[in-house]
């Protein structure tokens, strides 16, 4: 059925069946506006008066600051070292003095301040001693470890620390390296220019990555609106184990999963990462940074940034990290008078910058000066008419109109059921919406709400567990009190009878003593058993509710960031720990019960049972014993 539909759709659309490229659903064709910023070569931006280096320029933990205010640092010197696996170092982009370590506004959609190191350059641009590495003849593990302090992160915009993607622990199953040079967003040309001008260096970078991953095959995906770049790369690739593949210009072909499908006809399962099927994806600018790190020992201190849109001379600049935005704008001939604000990233997925003072960071691939004639303010949204243009445009094959409906109604469970977390926020749905509904905003809202709710639920579960505990304790204390009360009453009665002969007294006293002793021994075990049972109950409840809620989607990180192995391992461990705890609790309860049986405390009322009932009890006991044995053997295994 689906095959027929697809065939018919293609027939109607007149899609040429290029056998080399494997189309994904949907996608859009915005005007690319790339010509404006490709007329001039990449220029180097002068060292500004001050550099502001946010500590958070990558995905993961913020690095640990190694310098103090007043320290003199050399160019390339490490200012902050990575902390934990998912973290990246920050280096001094030039030589100078640390003038502040303080909170400053960073280029982030929130527009909030964050910790930054401020460096006042001395203008001499003195390099620290650099240590190039002979990557062909050095141990791979050593190379990757050293990459950890390179500060290199994914320069396509995701800013995931690069060394993690190369961690193979000696056994890599990556057979194909995909180089993402699609650069599908309009306006952005930094990768285009990089390929035109530095194809030879890029190719060496690719060789390094291929070497580290042990990937025999490499495909470089370039969109067909970058013919110069594609031919430069093709020429540079001659005789190497890599191949340039030109893909049709269709946003968002630069999304990693979409690109893999385009190039290799492989759909990465939604709950897996590309490395699970032997594919690793690197952005082309990242590869160049890797090359420069090994070849010259240069850490990540600059990148190529496109400045375009409503500026006098759109161009690509090589910009030191921390350079304030206004320096870049000035270098591009200044913004035209009707400029309203600046956008970081492309027009499909970028965001408004809070001001012109914010620094250029590792994520800044493109800065667009916005003006009303370039980006018209959206007209007021009309109701959804269910035209399903969004569904036709969705590269993930979601039903955006349904997700919108559920998100708008705060029907988050439904939104999750309809795979909200598969949404890559590419913006195709909003782009084609005739009612001008800001669909992606609704999805961002729903995602953040769901994440917040999940966190709240976790906290509530913990609180409930504590409460169950408390209730169990109160119940137990009540019982204990009642028991004591009864004992005392009995003791009182016994005392009343103590006027009788002493011989009787001693005979009477004895069982009472026994009884007390018995109570003393059983009380703690009962207590423990009750606690254990309560824990087990709470745990089981929590697990059950977690399982009920947990759709496979939920576990995946909501952003484009893939889940780190660490986090996954921690989660797995937590889960295992939980299960182990439950098992232990059950075990304890059983053991205590058994002990009680052996001690002759329980079972009660078995003196006068019939033979049949007795047989049944024996049978049950045997089963219990067996179960206990099996669980024990399992445990020992």
């Amino acid at each position: 059925m689906n095959a027929i539909i697809n065939f018919a759709s293609n027939l109607i659309r007149g899609v040429s069946s290029n056998k080399d490229v494997f189309k994904f659903n949907g996608g859009v064709h915005p005007q690319d506006h790339k010509a404006e910023s490709t007329t001039l070569p990449i220029a180097e931006l002068a060292i500004p008066e001050q550099l502001v280096l946010p500590l958070r320029q990558h995905v993961g933990y913020i690095p640990k600051v190694l310098v103090q205010v007043g320290d003199f640092v050399l160019k390339g010197q490490m200012l902050a070292e990575p902390e934990g696996t998912v973290s990246a170092a920050i280096h001094a982009p030039t030589s100078g003095t640390i003038s502040a370590i303080s909170e400053q506004i960073i280029p982030h959609p929130s527009g909030l301040p964050d910790m930054c190191i401020t460096l006042t350059p001395d203008g001499k641009d003195t390099w620290a001693k650099l240590q190039p590495l002979d990557w062909r003849n050095t141990d791979k593990k050593l190379l990757v470890d050293s990459l950890r302090s390179s500060g290199i992160v994914g320069l396509g915009g995701a800013t995931f620390p690069t060394h993690i993607k190369l961690l193979t622990n000696g056994k890599s199953n990556v057979h194909t390296l995909v180089i993402n040079a699609a650069e599908c967003e309009p306006y952005i040309t930094c990768d285009d220019m990089l390929m035109r001008e530095r194809a030879d260096q890029v190719v060496v970078g690719i060789e390094i990555v291929q070497h580290l991953l042990g990937a025999e095959k490499c495909i470089i995906g370039v969109e067909d609106n970058k013919s110069q770049a594609a031919s430069a790369m093709t020429n540079a690739c001659v005789g190497k184990s890599m191949q340039v593949k030109v893909v049709p210009t269709l946003y968002p072909s630069g999304d990693a999963r979409r690109l893999i499908h385009l190039l290799l006809d492989i759909e990465i399962p939604n709950d897996k990462r590309s490395t699970d099927v032997g594919i690793q994806v690197f952005n082309i600018a990242t590869v160049l940074a890797i090359y420069r790190y090994f070849e010259f020992g240069e850490p990540s201190i600059k990148r190529i940034v496109t400045i375009t849109g409503n500026v006098a001379k759109p161009q690509n600049f090589e910009v030191l990290f921390g350079t304030p935005l206004h320096s870049l704008i000035a270098a591009a001939g200044g913004a035209k008078s009707n400029t309203t604000h600046f956008i970081m990233g492309g027009p499909m997925m970028g965001f408004d910058l809070p001001n012109e003072q914010v620094p250029i960071t590792k994520a800044a691939n493109c800065i667009i000066a916005a003006a009303p004639d370039l980006f018209a303010p959206p007209p007021p949204a009309m109701p959804c008419i269910r035209c399903a243009r969004c569904a036709d445009a969705c590269p993930v094959n979601l039903q955006p109109q349904e997700l919108y409906w559920f998100s708008k109604a705060d029907n988050f469970e439904k939104a999750r059921d309809y795979n909200l977390f598969d949404c890559i926020e590419c913006g195709c749905c909003s782009y084609v919406c005739p009612s001008d509904i800001p669909l992606v905003q609704y999805y961002r809202y729903a995602k953040s709400e769901i994440i917040a709710l999940d966190k709240a639920k976790e906290a509530a579960d913990l609180a409930r567990e504590r409460n169950d505990f408390r209730l169990a304790r109160i119940e137990r204390e009540k019982l204990e009190r009642a028991q004591k009360h009864a004992e005392r009453a009995q003791a009182g009665k016994a005392e009343a009878k103590s006027s009788e002969p002493s011989s009787v007294e001693t005979t009477k006293e004895k069982p009472l003593e026994n009884q007390n002793a018995e109570a003393n021994t059983t009380a703690p075990t009962d207590k423990q058993a009750a606690i254990a049972a309560a824990i087990a109950r709470a745990k089981a409840q929590k697990l059950a509710s977690a399982n009920a809620v947990e759709s496979p989607k939920q576990k995946e990180a909501p952003t484009e960031v893939e889940k780190t192995p660490e986090v996954e391992a921690a989660e797995l461990k937590a889960k295992q720990d939980k299960q182990a705890l439950i098992a232990a609790a059950i075990e304890r309860a059983k053991a205590q019960k058994l002990a009680a049986v052996q001690a002759g405390v329980a079972p009660k009322n078995v003196e006068n049972v019939s033979a049949a009932v007795q047989a049944e009890i024996n049978e049950t006991d045997a089963i219990r014993e067996k179960v206990k044995l099996t669980t024990e053997t399992k445990k020992s295994e």
């Binding site: 959609p109 569904a391 782009y431």
Partner: protein
């Protein structure tokens, strides 16, 4: 602030509706040619009624009036209803139908985007149930009429139901081929002899089939413009053809051939303009196929075995009810999910 994407490229809702209206123009021209200018009067009455009703209801519901009037969706509803009604329907019939379509069929459900039923078909069904006699009285095409009415005579008839002295009502109206076929079959006549009657044309109704052809033309324009998807008309016409072919193959003496069903009544109007209403229809590609095939099948069943000569309106309304179910069960596979 993250409010990307900053760019959009899509026709507005108004543009989509305007294109639908444009696609109806060939049909209206053919209609005028065949049945006279009366239809233009009906369309005008329906349009003005729809706009007034929409404005008043928006005001009552405290919604902005201008953007919703400008979306043109009310006009589309008005035109479709007017085209579905008999050409010389009295003015009040048009007004009542349009009021019902806009007020009950659309605004009371929440206006644009929220109506579960096709508003034009709601209006039509109400009229068909309330005024069955007028609704089945169609004028003969001008070229068949003994006394073709002039535009002024038609206008006069619409507003006052008065005909020139020498003409009787029976002289200007006749049964539609679908109606005629139904009654004649009940009289045990055979299809082949029934279709010899002058009201039958090459495929469907004499004259009417030209209008139908014009609708097809407009529909193809909408597909070409990507205003509607091919799924709906294809599945509707396919289902209608298939089921009529099946019955025709069993007993050609009692069941009309598929071409007759495709070219008669509201088939083409339904295929390209009525079931393609996105709001009351399904959204998934597979859902569209099921929905349209359901409408096609029900249309045939109502035509042949039901109590009404044409079954489009009820078929559409019945299938509208199934839309949430169809959508829920035809979700396409999401990228990366198991096949």
């Amino acid at each position: 602030m993250n409010r990307s994407p900053y760019i959009t490229d899509s026709p507005s809702v108004s543009m989509i509706m305007l294109k639908v209206l444009l696609a109806l123009v060939p049909g209206i021209i053919a209609y005028t040619w065949i049945y006279g200018g009366g239809i233009l009067v009906s369309i005008t009455i329906a349009t003005s009624t729809a706009l007034v009703a929409e404005a008043v209801l928006l005001k009552v519901r405290q919604r902005p009036i201008k953007p919703y009037l400008m979306d043109m969706s009310a006009v589309v509803t008005a035109w479709l209803l007017a085209l579905a009604l008999p050409p010389l329907a009295p003015w009040w019939l048009v007004v009542v139908g349009t009021l019902f379509a806009i007020i009950v069929g659309k605004q009371l459900y929440g206006g644009l985007g929220y109506n579960p039923f096709n508003p034009a078909m709601v209006g039509y069904a109400v009229l068909l149930i309330s005024f069955p006699l007028i609704m089945t009285k169609w004028p003969a095409p001008l070229l068949l009429a003994e006394h073709p009415l002039s535009f002024m005579q038609q206008l006069n008839y619409i507003f006052s139901q008065v005909l020139p002295n020498e003409i009787k009502v029976d002289a200007i109206t006749s049964a539609t081929p679908l109606d005629y076929l139904k009654t004649q079959l009940m009289l045990k006549h055979e299809v082949a002899s029934i279709t010899q009657a002058p009201i039958f044309g090459q495929f469907g109704a004499k004259g009417g089939e030209i209008v139908t052809g014009a609708y097809l033309l407009g529909g193809l324009y909408l597909i070409q413009q990507r205003i509607i998807s091919w799924h709906l008309p294809t599945a509707f016409l396919g289902a209608l053809a298939t089921i009529s072919l099946a019955f025709y193959a069993i007993n050609p003496a009692h069941y009309a051939d598929p071409l007759f069903h495709l070219m008669s009544g509201a088939s083409m109007l339904c295929a390209f303009f009525i079931i393609t209403d996105p709001i009351s229809g399904p959204t998934t590609p597979r859902g569209k196929l099921y929905f349209a095939a359901g409408v096609g099948t029900l249309t045939y069943l109502i035509r042949v075995f039901g109590g009404y000569p044409d079954g489009v309106a009820f078929a559409v309304l019945l299938m509208n009810m199934c839309v949430p179910l169809i959508d829920a069960h035809t979700q396409p596979r999401v990228f990366g999910h198991k096949k």
